[in-house]
Amino acid sequence: MTQNPENSGRNTPVPSAATLEKELEKGWRDHRSGARPSSVSSVTEDDGDGRMVMNFGPQHPATHGTLRSVFTLEGESIVEADVEIGYLHTGFEKLGEHMTYQQWVTVSDRMNYLSAINNNVGYSVAVEELLGIEVPPRCAALRVIMCELSRIADHVLCVGLQGMDLGAFSVMLWSFEKRELVYDIIEAVCGARLTTSWTRVGGIIRDVPEFFPDLVYSFLDEFPPIIDEIHGMLLNNKIFVDRVKDIGKVSTEKALSYGLSGPVGRASGLTSDVRKDKPYLGYDKYDFKVPSQTEGDSFARYMQRMEEIEQSLEIIRQAMATLPQGEVVHDDFKTSLPEKDAVYNDMESLIHHFKLVMLGHGIRPDKGQSIYSATEAPCGELGFFLASDGSDTPYRLRVRPPSLYNYGLFPRLAEGGMISDAVAILSSFHVIAGELDR
């Protein structure tokens, strides 16, 4: 648990390869059998100096999945905090090196499963930037609408979970109910609720159904009152307000140095938002504000999310009003998949489709090209670093997960507070394990 600076570099004598191997063999065997005590125990133990080590997670309702923290306690205050992640490590990046550019879209929505569309769009935008292609205006506008919809769903859920962790269970039930409104739209557009796989490199899978505008407009009518309802339930709840106000304060310098982004960073006074700083998909056409708070506590993060929901509604309204007609797929079929209808009925499209789908053909960016491309996901800046070696699979696919860098500050924040504060801080950070561990 204690961090040992000498442990890190080459300053310590390196054990011989044989000893190392033996130790590793043994450790690995202990891990498999669950015998290593530090690995999975959830007992609390007193080691004699009045301090107690408490294990929190990886399977605990307040950890939202699979996060594990180890707190050293004195009474009820945390003197030392350490976190362990990786319980959901799935190998997305390695998988990316073995899949074609189009195939990886399917995998990308398993990463941040609360707002899968943002992942799809983020990845597609990255590949399009690498290839230097631009999607048609209708496609860009549709992507913007769907991104903002799932941003709303993500924020609402986060607020609901924040309420649930602090005892306001009904908020969570309400927010889940309201998320279903967004799910209805997502289901109408791409057929799935969670794992959407909706975009393709160079476009989207198909045009939206005819009744799409009705759905979105009725959502726009139905949703705004809900913001007031949630505010009413939480802001009038003294327990909630007292437990989040002045808890987990993050200064602007800290936020900058730890690389916080998204609502968590903006609640601490940062004003950066990729949608404004480096507009993609024509975000510069829409007139919206980037709200930001100065307090940097858990309450500010709650307010930040609620304000961002309002801005997202505004963007959807504008995008719906100016939704252009036309194609939804980039028309160079050397890079983008033709629509399914055309594939079944048109010889040439079938050939293009075949060439793109078969391993060994497909999209081939030039050798040595690489790009870092970022989009604004609900959790923060979602970046992709892509490097090509001229083949049809990326040579290196790196995801810059916003949750990882946001979560890096959590142990430092938890130190000095109470255990109950740690829960309040963690839920306001909204860390998605799938994206954290990849």
Partner: protein
């Protein structure tokens, strides 16, 4: 050399000569340097030029490729005031795969470097917390190296099995585990061996 990269332009002359290459793609600049110059360049970017946001640290493995060194460490830097982003690529030798840490310049490097260490086995000298990160503590390999197979070396099968025997659930060790759990080390012989039987990718 890229003439339009403000970060490069603002470097003093002696540091300018340390940048060995500069590539531009889609308006984004990537500067290249060697391990020995990495620290000086990054200090200049952070302390003199105000690149206060380290977006990401990661690495790339060029095993079997015709490159200067095997590893490439990638820093993505951003200046929030000037709203400018660029990358610094650093070549890293495989036989002495250690590079100075920059956690004192940006705190976000703490975890970025730790993850890179976990995935590639690269040592960041000075980083106070280089434990395993995403993989279990005793995992015998560095998974993102190019010579580690996608499906692993059977580590994922090596757990005891809970079975019903009589009236109780008991744990049963399988008869045999696959014997070799593929320990990877950066020894020159090992890398030589891998080089020999790995075919370069098309």
């Amino acid at each position: 050399m890229a003439d339009n990269n403000p970060a490069y332009e603002a470097l003093p002359a002696d540091l300018k000569s340390k940048v060995i290459e500069s590539v531009e793609h889609q308006g984004q600049v990537a500067l290249r340097c060697r391990t020995a110059d990495q620290r000086a360049l990054l200090e200049n970017f952070r302390l003199s030029q105000g690149y206060d946001f380290l977006v990401d640290v990661t690495a790339m493995d060029h095993l079997g490729k015709d490159t200067e060194e095997r590893f490439e460490i990638i820093y993505v830097l951003r200046n929030l005031t000037a709203n400018h982003t660029f990358r610094l690529h650093v070549w890293l030798d495989e036989s002495d795969n250690a590079i100075p840490s920059v956690f004192d310049l940006w705190d976000s490097a703490r975890w970025g470097e730790r993850e890179t260490h976990d995935m590639f086995g690269i040592v960041f000298d000075g980083n106070p917390d280089l434990r395993r990160f995403l993989m279990p503590e005793d995992y015998p390999a560095f998974p993102l190296l190019k010579d580690y197979p996608l499906k692993g070396k059977e580590e994922r099968r090596q757990f005891p099995k809970v079975v019903a025997r009589g009236d109780r659930m008991v744990e049963e060790e399988p008869d045999t585990y696959p014997t070799s759990i593929g320990r990877q080390m950066h020894t020159p012989e090992y890398i030589e061996e891998v080089r020999r039987d790995s075919k370069p990718r098309e």
